[in-house]
């Protein structure tokens, strides 16, 4: 299993639930590790059903959005599924402005997201 510094991964039923250790996913090093660890879930751990729970994350830059998009593409190639939850209003607005809310299935909280898989 890949080692993680930027994410915590737990399992709820068949769903791998990912939480983030940083309040701000902002600087280049953090974003690089954030991306690599997410990609590792698909490419190393072969996880296919993943919930990204952003509870506690206050800030996300466009470079981090890029990593999420690449992660989504890798997961789709592996025939996996991802949902997002726990986005603060500002980050939710970022997804809406960029129309990435059409790419990602975004749910209010973990319970709603888990029941939607």
């Amino acid at each position: 299993m890949a080692t993680h510094r930027r994410i915590d991964v737990s399992k709820t039923g068949d769903v791998s639930v990912v939480q983030f250790t940083d309040q701000k996913i902002l600087d280049e090093v953090t974003i690089q590790e954030f991306g690599n660890e997410l990609f590792g879930l698909v490419e190393v751990d072969n996880r296919k059903v993943i919930l990204l729970d952003f509870t506690g994350v206050e800030f996300l830059s466009s470079a981090a959005l890029g990593k999420l998009i690449t992660f989504d593409r890798k997961l789709k190639t592996a025939k996996g599924r991802v949902k997002l939850c726990g986005l603060v209003p500002g980050i939710l607005e970022v997804f809406q402005v960029t129309k990435l809310n059409k790419v990602f299935d975004i749910r209010a909280d973990r319970a709603e997201a888990l029941s939607a898989f």
């Binding site: 902002l26 600087d27 280049e28 090093v29 206050e58 800030f59 830059s61 466009s62 470079a63 959005l65 890029g66 990593k67 998009i69 690449t70 989504d72 593409r73 603060v88 209003p89 500002g90 970022v94 402005v97 960029t98 129309k99 990435l100 059409k102 790419v103």
Partner: protein
Amino acid sequence: MADDSSTDEWKRSITLVSERGSSRLVTDDLLDRLGHYGWPPDDIFAIHLAVEEALVNAVVHGNKLDPGKTVWVDYLVSATLMRIEIADQGEGFDPHNVPDCTLAERLDRPGGRGVMLMRSFMTRIEYNAKGNSVLLEKRRDPPAEG
């Protein structure tokens, strides 16, 4: 000498080295000032996002992390206005030529969202003719009535 109005606003000029992480020298202070002037969290988020995107553009895309090049930053914060000007020593770019990242065929591209986010979250955004200097302005929304 500063005039009376300057007591109600904060101005700062700073020169940044073109290295990763240098944006914090601006954003840490800027966020403190916005909090000091009582800006609401939604506006602080918007300013943080736009300024971070602009600074990363200047350092990484403009100056290409060349340690011999600098980024000049001037900003002003008051209770109702945030204005920041960020200039790099790069070749510049045409902001009108940035593809629309919200088109269906481009939605899955990893990059190209920074300029759009700045436009969306700021009241005003202007580039110079060369495209290596940007002015961002955010006016604080008046408080809702009653």
